[in-house]
C-alpha cells in the first residue's frame, strides 16, 4: 500500500502536473533537482531538524483532550498541537524547509503569496532567520482586510506587494507570485504556502509538513503501547496540514478525514468545498478539483476562515479522494464556530478557525465511536489571529438577538 506518486510528470493519478508557462519549466526542474539533492543530504536534514527543534519548538505535543472526550462520550480525542509552533501554525514547518532549500540552492531572494497573511508571515519569518530577501504578494483586498499582518511582515523586513489583478485575493496573489517568479527565476526562490501549485511543489510541501504526521504517529504509539489511532482528521484549504499529518498514517490501517470549509452551506454557493462541489480543472499549474464556472473561470470561494478559502486543493488530495483513501467532508462556518467555542471551554485552547473545522468534524464522528477508539485532530494553528473575527461575529449575533 506504499505510496508511489507523484510520477515523473508530477501526476497523482490524473491530478497534479505542471501546467505553467514554458518560461518556468526550467525553474521547476531546477527546483526538483535542488530539492531531491537536499533531502538526500544528511547535513540539510540535520539543519532542518535543528531549526524545527531549536527555533520553531518541535516536537509539538500530542495533547489528550480529556474534558472534551468526556463531554462527547465517544472516541478519545487527541490534538496534534501545531498551534504551538513558532508563528502559531503548521505553516512555519514548510516555510523553514523551503527557506533552507532556497539558501542551499544559492537563491538569496524569496517570493511568496499570501491570503490573510499567515503564510506571508511564516515566509517573512524564515527569510529573516536565514538572511533572505523576501517579497510577499498579497491581494489589495486582503491587504485592506489584514493591515496588521501586513505590518507584521514589514516588521520582519519583508516587502509586501499589492496585487490588483482579478479579485485581488489569494488566487490572484498566487498568480502574480508565479508571474514574478518567471521574470526572476535565476536568483529567486518561490516559496509556496500550501501543498498546491505545479509539481514539484505539492511534493516539497508534503515533505516538509510530513513531520506532523510522523511525530504524531510516534507520540501516539508511545502513549498507547504501539497501537495506532482509529482516525485522523484535518482541515483542508490547500491541504498542507492535512497532507502532512496524513503522511504518517496513509500507509496504515487508519481512517483519514479531510475537512473542507462548507461556508454558509453548500447550497448557498458560499463555500470553499472544492472537493465536494468543484470539478476537475487547472489552477496555479496543477490539475485538481476546482471551484469554477461552467465555462472554466475560477470562482472566488468563501469561508469564515481565511486560510480555507482557496478555490482549488492540492492534487494529492484530489487523488486521495478519487481513490477513496481519504473521506472528505464539509463543515459550515456555524459548526466551526461552535466547535471552536467548545474546545476553548473544555480545554482552554483557542484554535484557528481553520482548525476548528477539523474539530467540528471530529466532534461529529467521535459521538458515534466507542470509548476505546481514538481520533487525532490536527490542530493546525492557534486562534489569536481570529479573535477579531470572532468578536465581530459575536457582536453581530448579539445585535440579532435584540
Amino acid at each position: 500500500m506504499k505510496t508511489v506518486y507523484p510520477d515523473s510528470k508530477g501526476r497523482y493519478g490524473q491530478f497534479g502536473g505542471k501546467f505553467v508557462p514554458e518560461t518556468i519549466m526550467f525553474a521547476l526542474e531546477d527546483l526538483e533537482k535542488g530539492f531531491l539533492e537536499a533531502i538526500n543530504d544528511e547535513d540539510f536534514q540535520k539543519d532542518l531538524e535543528h531549526e524545527l527543534t531549536h527555533y520553531s519548538g518541535r516536537p509539538t505535543p500530542l495533547t489528550y483532550a480529556g474534558k472534551l472526550t468526556e463531554r462527547l462520550g465517544g472516541a478519545g480525542i487527541y490534538l496534534k498541537r501545531e498551534d504551538l509552533n513558532h508563528t502559531g501554525a503548521h505553516k512555519i514547518n514548510n516555510a523553514i524547509g523551503q527557506a533552507l532549500l532556497s539558501k542551499r540552492m544559492g537563491k538569496k531572494k524569496i517570493i511568496a503569496e499570501t491570503g490573510a497573511g499567515q503564510h506571508g508571515v511564516a515566509a517573512a519569518t524564515a527569510a529573516a532567520r536565514y538572511g533572505l530577501e523576501c517579497k510577499v504578494y498579497m491581494g489589495e483586498e486582503d491587504i485592506r482586510r489584514q493591515e496588521l499582518n501586513v505590518f507584521r511582515m514589514k516588521l520582519l523586513g519583508a516587502e509586501v506587494i499589492p496585487v490588483s489583478s482579478g479579485t485581488r485575493t489569494l488566487k490572484d496573489a498566487t498568480n502574480e507570485a508565479i508571474r514574478q517568479w518567471v521574470s526572476a527565476v535565476e536568483d529567486t526562490f518561490y516559496l509556496i504556502g500550501s501543498a498546491v501549485g505545479p509539481h514539484p511543489y505539492p511534493k516539497i510541501v508534503k515533505e516538509f509538513q510530513s513531520v506532523i504526521g510522523f511525530e504524531a504517529k510516534a507520540q501516539y504509539k508511545e502513549q498507547h503501547g504501539g497501537k495506532l489511532p482509529e482516525k485522523v482528521v484535518a482541515c483542508v484549504g490547500g491541504g498542507s496540514n492535512a497532507i502532512g499529518i496524513f503522511a504518517g498514517f496513509v500507509d496504515e490501517d487508519v481512517k483519514l478525514v479531510g475537512v473542507e470549509a462548507g461556508g454558509k452551506g453548500i447550497l448557498t454557493g458560499l463555500h470553499a468545498a472544492t472537493m465536494a462541489n468543484g470539478r476537475e480543472g487547472v489552477i496555479h499549474g496543477s490539475l485538481t478539483y476546482l471551484l469554477q464556472s461552467e465555462e472554466g473561470q475560477i470562482q472566488e470561494p468563501y469561508s469564515i476562515s481565511a486560510g480555507l478559502d482557496y478555490p482549488g486543493v492540492g492534487p494529492e488530495h484530489a487523488y486521495l479522494k478519487s481513490t477513496q483513501r481519504v473521506d472528505y467532508q464539509c463543515i459550515t462556518d456555524e459548526e466551526a464556530l461552535e466547535a471552536l467555542n467548545i474546545l476553548c471551554l473544555e480545554e482552554g485552547i483557542l484554535c484557528a478557525l481553520e482548525s476548528a473545522h477539523a474539530v467540528a468534524q471530529a466532534i461529529k464522528e467521535a459521538k458515534s465511536m466507542t470509548p476505546d477508539e481514538n481520533i487525532i485532530i490536527c490542530l493546525s494553528g492557534r486562534g489569536d489571529k481570529d479573535v477579531h473575527t470572532l468578536f465581530e461575529q459575536q457582536k453581530e449575533e448579539d445585535s440579532h438577538d435584540h
Binding site: P21, E22, M25, A27, R179, V185, I283, G285, E295
Partner: protein, 271 residues
Amino acid sequence: MTTRMKEFQTLKAPLFVPFITAGDPSSEATVDLALALQNEGASALELGIPYSDPLADGPVIQRASLRALKNGMSLEKAIKLVSVMREKGLTIPVIIFTYYNLLLQLGEQKFFELAAQHDIDGLLVPDMPFEESKELQEACLQHDLSFISLAAPTTSRERLKEIGRTAQGFLYCISSLGVTGTRTSFANDLDCFLENAKASSGVPVLVGFGLSSREQMQQFEGKCDGYIMGSAIVKKIEELGPELVNMETKDKAIAAFSDFLSKVVPVKVYS
C-alpha cells in the same frame, strides 16, 4: 494543418502575428480590429480567450481579459466569432490562445468540432508546457490544427530540440523572462537561443513577449522569421476602447488603430 497555415509558413520574413483579446472592448470591435490587423499586414492572428487567472499575462492583457469577461466572452463564443471575421473577409490564420482550463471545461471533442466549423487554424495553450502537451498536439494534428509550441531562453538545449522537432505552425520563442507586457530590455543570450531554435525546427521561428516597437524588432533581424506583438496592441485597444464601442466614433477609432499599426508592424512585411 489548414491551407491558411500552410500559406502562412511560406510567407517571406518578417512575419507579423498580433494578439488581441476576444471581446475587448466588444465582440463587434474584435471583428473590426482583426480586419484592420490583416489590412495593416498581419500574417496571422492570435485570438486570446479571456480568463479569470491568466498566469502568463501581464497587467495589460489581464485588464483586457477582465473587460472581455464582463462582456460575456467565452472560448465557445470566441471561436464562433471567427466565422464572422471570415465572412467579413479575414483570410489569415487564426490561432486560439487559451488557458488550458477553459479548453478542459469546454471539452477537447467539442473544441475540435467548433474549430473545424469556424475555420480555426491553430491552438496555443500558454500554460501547457511541452511535457504535458503531447496528446493535445497529436489531437491537433488529427484535426488539421497547428498546436503552437513555446520555447524560452531558459529552455534547455535538449528540450528545445524536442520542442523544435515537433513544432507545428510556427515556434513561439519567448524573448524575455516574465509575463507578457512591453519591456525595454531582453534576455542576454537571446541570439544564441534563437539560433538554436531555428536550427532545431522546421517551422518559422517567431519572437514574442514584450515587443512594442519597430526598433525592438530590428534587434532580431535575420535571427528569426517574424514577430508576435501583444500587449502593445492591446494597450492601444484599451485606449481606443470607448471610441471603438461608440457607433459614431468607431470608424475614427479603427483608423487611429490602423495608423498606430502602420508604425509598429515590421518593415518589409509581406502583405
